[in-house]
């Protein structure tokens, strides 16, 4: 059978050569023994498809979009939290009127500190004034206590002083308890700030703020001549010394006032005065250093009578004994010099002197009493007279309490 003509070939001029392209696009093979109307089906040369660009990957596109979204979200997140949680962009945020939690927190914390400092100031000023009251009545109490406790006070004086002690005690209780109630309040309140992680740092902060406030108020009044201004200036300066005075606070809080004896109350007043500074505490300090010479002289008298039972009864010339002619008291060096004379009927003049030295040294008021030189003159008929030169020191504490 003759080879059939490819209908596609009829449109083209007879080829001198075989076309590879045509052959590659269309080629038909038929079995030698079959007949087809259409002829061989064209073959698709897929190798050509490989020269066409591949389609864009959908997943890649989606991933790119997702990446962009995530990146943009990250930038927004960083900008937002940086503006809210750090001081960066603060001026920009303020200019744009944008809120910031950090700025709000800082602002409200400042107000909390200011308000609490106001409260602390009013409380401490009152504590200071109540302690002034306590010192004022304490001064009277200590004075009356000393009179009641002194061996040289008259009975009238002792009775009057004892009566005043009871009345003064009530005033002392009122002022002490009022001061205690105020000072027991904590000086700090909790604030949300990483700079102050614990109570100790908060307490230090509020103490500093209070001192700053009091100094400022005092500075505003410095140099003023008016009585009220000078008084207020002194109040602010004295109150400064109470701020952070842990020892004072502990003393006030820990003391059970109602259970105090007079002697214990005396000591309490002494302690409080040593912890605060006002005009009365200064007077108190001076009083503490003061020596009650009348009590000293009385003690010498009592000790001398223990050695010479006729002392100060004007029997010296008749029966002998001890007679003093001069005393020299020195509070600065806390030393006493005594000059006198000893007269005895028997020869035991030196024994009387020695007994006197021992008796004076046995006193709680004196120490280091000594006589290093003994001399006498006379006779058995007329008796013996010896000079007495005695020196002794005062003990440190001359007022004894329970």
């Amino acid at each position: 059978m003759a080879e059939q003509e490819n209908p596609l070939d009829s449109q083209t001029p007879p080829k001198q050569e075989k076309s590879d392209i045509v052959d590659s696009i269309v080629s038909t093979e038929t079995a030698e023994d079959q007949k087809s109307i259409l002829g061989e089906a064209p073959e698709i040369d897929t190798s050509l498809l490989q020269e066409v660009e591949p389609e864009k990957s959908v997943s890649l596109t989606l991933l790119k979009i997702l990446f962009s979204i995530l990146f943009f979200s990250g930038v927004i997140s960083v900008l937002f939290f940086t503006s809210q949680l750090t001081p960066r962009f603060e001026s920009l945020a303020i200019n744009l009127g944008l809120p910031s939690v950090t700025r709000e927190l800082s602002s409200v914390n400042s107000e909390v500190v200011r308000l609490q400092t106001d409260i602390n100031m009013y409380r401490h000023l009152q504590v200071k004034s109540f302690l002034d009251q306590f010192s004022f009545y304490g001064d009277s109490f200590m004075h009356d206590y000393s009179i009641a406790d002194s061996p040289t006070s008259s009975r009238t004086e002792i009775e009057a002083a004892t009566g005043r002690l009871t009345e003064t005690r009530e005033h002392l209780a009122q002022s002490f308890l009022s001061a205690r109630e105020l000072i027991a309040h904590p000086i700090h309140v909790p604030i949300v700030d990483t700079q102050y992680p614990d109570d100790a740092s908060l307490i230090a902060l509020f103490q500093d703020k209070l001192r700053e406030r009091l100094r400022k108020r005092a500075d505003d009044l410095r140099g003023e001549d008016e009585y009220e201004s000078r008084r207020d200036y002194r109040n602010y300066m004295d109150t400064l010394r109470i701020v952070g005075n842990t020892e004072l606070r502990n003393l006030l809080v820990a003391t059970d006032f109602d259970d105090l004896t007079d002697s214990q109350l005396y000591n309490l007043i002494d302690q409080v005065n040593s912890l605060i500074v006002n005009d009365m505490s200064i007077i108190h300090e001076i009083n503490k250093q003061r020596v009650r010479w009348s009590d000293i002289i009385n003690e010498i008298e009592m000790r001398t009578k223990a050695v010479d039972s006729y002392y100060s009864q004007d029997f010296f010339d008749a029966v002998g004994g001890i007679r003093y002619t001069s005393f020299d008291f020195d509070a600065v060096n806390r030393r006493i010099s005594i000059i006198g004379e000893i007269k005895t009927i028997s020869t035991t003049t030196f024994t009387m002197i020695a007994n006197l030295v021992d008796e004076l040294n046995a006193s709680e008021m004196f120490k280091n009493g000594e006589v290093r030189s003994f001399s006498k003159s006379g006779s058995l008929a007329d008796g013996y007279t010896g000079s007495l030169r005695l020196s002794l020191d005062l003990e440190e504490k001359l007022i004894t309490t329970d």
Partner: protein, 205 residues
């Protein structure tokens, strides 16, 4: 050649897909963790702001109470302050005020000399002021002739001086030199005591 380029392109797309996938995962983790922790802190601070605002509102009323309590007590404090100041002017004045002190000593001498027992101040000699940390001292020396009884009264006067509600200038005796016969104690039959006493009178700086 074209075939090769296409193959390269497909391979490139595969690599890019994997890379972007990895980047997205990493970025998601980083942004997620960052946002979480920052949000926690943000919430903490926001709650802190709310709590602090409540606290500030309470403190505002507390300030009012503290101020009114202070103003109320201040009337009493100011009264006592004036009393203390008036008393201190006599007892612990702001300057040496030696003339007032001289008048006080004279007055005391007069009160004792009225009785039968003698008390005579023959001299008062003021010395230079001594400055201490929180007060000043005016030292002076007195020469006195006295009975033992009045001598004891004089000592009591000085020892009890300086009481805030008293009238006597704060003083202390720094030394006494006395001569007598018998005993210097009140009630003893001694003669006149002659003594020189060094006294410190105190005043505020």
């Amino acid at each position: 050649m074209a075939k090769l380029a296409a193959q390269i392109e497909r391979r490139r797309q595969k690599i890019q897909t994997r890379a972007y996938l990895l980047l997205c995962l990493v970025l998601l983790a980083v942004v997620g963790v960052y946002t979480y922790f920052q949000f926690v802190e943000y919430q903490f601070i926001s709650q802190g702001v709310q709590k602090s605002e409540v606290l500030a509102a309470n403190l505002r009323s507390g300030v009012g109470e503290a101020r009114s309590q202070y103003e109320e007590n201040r009337r009493v404090f100011d009264q006592l302050d004036r009393v203390i100041e008036q008393n201190l002017e006599k007892v612990f004045p702001t300057d040496d005020d030696y003339t007032e002190l001289t008048r006080q000593l004279d007055s005391f001498e007069e009160s004792l000399a009225r009785g039968r027992s003698p008390f005579e101040v023959s001299s008062i000699e003021y010395q230079s002021v001594v400055e201490r940390d929180s007060y000043s001292v005016l030292p002076f020396r007195m020469s006195i002739q006295s009975s033992p009884e009045n001598f004891t009264k004089f000592l009591h006067m000085v020892e009890n001086s300086g009481v805030i509600d008293g009238q006597t200038r704060l003083m202390s005796v720094s030394s006494i030199r006395l001569s007598f016969r018998g005993s210097p104690v009140a009630g003893s039959p001694a003669d006149i005591i002659t003594f020189t006493v060094q006294v410190n009178a105190y005043f505020r700086k």
